[in-house]
Symmetry: D2
């Protein structure tokens, strides 16, 4: 079968297209039809050159969807032809995350979804929303579940709440759509005039140009008549933290899930305690969260924002496109 592999080389040379023998049947065999890229996949690829020389190649990407082609003898949950996506952490069914879950995260230390066939335990798969194409389904596991976790597991978004999302990446677009589905008002930030216009067409109630307005958090709070927003979905990390604090109301929640501005840096810890803010660290989620997320997509008919679909042979171009930051929504690969 066809796969892409990540090798301990520099830059795009780390990615090579290879042939592998199909995996022998474990609990489930799924033919992958589409995969999607996340910022995390850029980080993994960039760090590939730091791997020890001679270390085994791995198949990249956590996100993929396809159809069940064969099931193990003891499997009752799936039938051939079922349309499914894999959970980012195949072993995290419910409950707390663990070191063991991290070690099994798809497309990290172990093989991911950029392959024609993938075998994972029966409990790792989640049924796709009914009307979804495989390309749409492939957008859900990382960005979608992260957004669900941020809004409805770490926080409790209710009608009348205000949610702030940052930029136009995959997590932020799912967060925008889910927040609107839950009856909330949404403030979105973008440095691009065109993207801000599109954010409004997608339902954003207010947009802010964060390059023109360095104190965009304060402006967001002002837009709420001074009360502050109930939830910030922070994809920036240290570089956005302080304005996220500015934006929040007393007792509000910051769902902290991104590293776009780095993994560490100076932040205003006093603001967190002064306003009794809850900062909730989020790293994707569990199979149970994924299933609840799919129920919401089905009930509300939410369709993911797909920026562009690349052919399997054009994977390097897909990485480049994501790295450029020009995308709006998800970057997908058809397998």
């Amino acid at each position: 079968m066809k796969v892409w592999e990540l090798h301990p080389n520099e830059g795009l040379e780390s990615l090579t297209r290879e042939e592998r023998t199909s995996p022998s049947l474990g609990p489930n065999d799924v033919r992958v039809r589409a995969a999607s890229l996340n910022y995390r996949d850029l980080v993994v690829a960039r760090n590939a050159s730091k791997r020890p020389a001679g270390s085994a190649a791995t198949v990249p990407l956590s996100d993929g969807a396809g159809e069940v082609t064969e099931v193990g003898a003891a499997v009752t949950r799936w039938r051939v032809g079922d349309r499914v996506a894999a959970s980012f952490f195949p072993t995290r069914l419910a409950g707390e995350l663990s070191d063991a879950d991290h070690a099994k995260a798809l497309g990290g230390q172990v093989d991911g979804m950029l392959a024609e066939e993938v075998v994972l335990p029966s409990s790792a798969w989640v049924r796709l929303p009914e009307a979804y194409s495989f390309e749409q389904g492939a957008t859900l596991p990382c960005a979608g579940v992260t957004a669900w976790h941020a809004l409805f597991e770490a926080a409790q978004v209710r009608p009348g709440d205000t949610v702030l999302v940052q930029g136009t990446g995959g997590v932020s677009m799912f967060a925008l759509q889910l927040a609107k589905a839950a009856g909330a008002r949404v403030i979105a930030t973008s440095s691009s005039h065109e993207k801000r216009a599109r954010l409004i067409s997608l339902g954003a109630d207010h947009v802010i140009d964060y390059t023109a307005d360095a104190t965009w958090g304060k402006s967001a709070r002002a837009w709420t008549n001074g009360r502050g927003v109930d939830l910030v979905v922070d994809v920036g990390g240290p570089g956005t933290f302080d304005q996220s604090v500015e934006a929040l109301r007393y007792g509000g929640t910051m769902s902290l899930l991104g590293i776009l501005t780095g993994t560490a840096g100076p932040v205003n810890t006093y603001g967190v305690l002064y306003k009794t803010i809850r900062v909730a660290g989020i790293y994707v989620g569990s199979v149970a969260m994924f299933e609840a997320f799919v129920r919401a997509l089905d009930a509300k008919g939410i369709e993911p924002i797909v920026d562009r679909v690349f052919a399997f042979d054009d994977v390097p171009a897909a990485y480049d496109h994501l790295a450029s930051g020009a995308h709006f929504g998800k970057v997908v690969v058809r397998v």
Copy 2:
């Protein structure tokens, strides 16, 4: 000023229209423009004859809205002309309910809203949604806040959840509207063909005739493909409890808030533990909940279902209409 009073007499004789001197100014003086009736007001009126002979007359009704006509010297929260409604429990700002709060519940042991002028502490009033008439505003304090509490304080309704509401009274209609605003699916029950049709036009995803279908709870669960509903807003009490349990999923919540079938009776306690159900007793709510509810009404443009508006002189007819059960939504009195 004009008021209606409740005396310790039998039946509608307990209600009389009287003149009182206007209250002297406490923290706030509000001119009441409209009031609304709840099932609880029928119960209060029916129990009036049990009061000791010679006991003081009280002004009935918990629900009313109007405009501020005068404010106490120390009040900064309100200005003359502000449009407000009073909280059912004027002393319950946040935190747990108490005996003291119950003793101050409007239209119970103390005077309520069926009067031209009412004076209550500054902190007891809540601003009306911006676009609301006084008639609309008067529907909120009891039924509306109860529905909010049931869906978003005792439970956490999320997009994709399924909520079951019973009948077409005030609480159930607010619950239907709020559940839809939060992205949930709604199952509604009614014995009337016309009302079921109207429930669908209001957004109900599925309706059940509970007179024709004695195991309507089981049917509701079947409609969710056997998973069960996430929340039941139980307005019946003992007579509906068991089917509410049947309807629920494992770990689901029953918001228990009504006494339409009585205050006590036989129920299936084993079902509660077998499915690890959470039964949440609800008695209206706090000022803080009322304020969150108004934010939701404003954000989503939700308008209350007003069944009929009666003139101030027709209060007995308004009580009769509510008692008949023919209403769909709220019964209002214009003051």
Copy 3:
């Protein structure tokens, strides 16, 4: 190997001592050293005669402890010699309960622990507290985990809270010990003078004779200076429900987990809503709860109250003893 079996016969004839071939190795093989009885096991045995004639015999009892004698090739979690107990629901690791979990509950529709050897999946076992004998370990899975769930998962017992426990069965004794370990005050009820004295020696702060005091709930509330207790661990069901409501404070929790007075009956639903009480149905718990419970037993050195240990051949006498209600704490069988 030696087992006891439950057959579709009347009374104690339903229980017979048999020889079976040892189970073939699945993920883990554990040599059972002790088992314990719960009220649920009486119910299962009493209902045995209702099974269809010719239906397969099952091994009774959910609770047992022993040592690992053999592990499957893929198992990394356990080693031979590890001292473990099985979870009541072997398939419920975390998250919500399900029909599938109920179907696999030990000693119900499937074989339980009253056998010399038992094989269950690796994830179903939980390590015993370090200093425990097997007899002590065998008391934990049903009664102990239920008590943990009641106090720390369905509620949040904190220092200074008051907890009410009913009678001297296994759940109530664990609840008493855990509540004291968490810094709470405990009110306990018993109809026996001797048992009340023993309850006090175990740390109960106040005892009530529920046969002499029909309104023991009201008395419990009076003992808290009228505030009401924070949590009732209700093992009675319909027959104790109303006094449990009487005992509780506004916003308090009733952990409803027992059927000693039946599975259905008349209860005061109005009291639940008047005081905004939370009734939490509880049916044992998950593997994750069991592990948290063991951490608490280890940290506080809590030892279970073992009433009496029976030999393997005396199982019928053990059942009789439990049925008599004369026990104080757990009834154990040494295997």
Copy 4:
């Protein structure tokens, strides 16, 4: 009456001992018998010189206890002779904190407790634990309520949990005592051999010298057999944040409440999301939390750690002693 005042001057000159006329009676008049100092009072005093010249003098200190000497006509909650302490935020009864609450924080922008008499609204006072002296009672409002909030409102400490506390200041000592009362294990850090010995005598299960062990967080996690601690009570802020993250388990909570190492600085945000940590900002608490805290102190007979009691005339020495960092527990002033 005698008071100390804070003026817009440099250093200890900002503090002067003055005579004021007794306040006229509002809802309650309380004769203060003792007050206590917190780190926050040092910050307030150090910032006094930044106040505009000519700005009004204020009475410092948030913490004080005394007896009711006179009550307003409408007050039913208190009687003359009742022993009480004032809440840090007199206006925050329950629910979320607000700008308005901050503006009324005692000893900040408004007069505090370092005076012979203080008048505050009836609802701002909390009854002292029964056996407490006024000196003991004066230690509770800021440090004690903060510790309660950190352990039982922002988190849920349960028997068997592990809690990490930092240093030997007032909050950390209350946190140690409360964690032990709740059945938890406690790890404490101190750079002083003598203080570490005393921490163990107070119940700490493990102590770490953070000056000798720069990766004390990692060491703390190792002590839990690699699982990580359930809660860190972080009094340091940016300088301790990263090791607090190291210490925590997946899904653990950091109660972030201190500024001993500053109000902003570089922190590891990636660690927060990698382990799905919850960072809960804490700023003292509400009247309702204070009351729950007192119930715990009463139930467990917990006595505050009083380092030293100064006479009213020796207030500058009390400030100096606190600033030296030599104290263990609370620094008190007898009024």
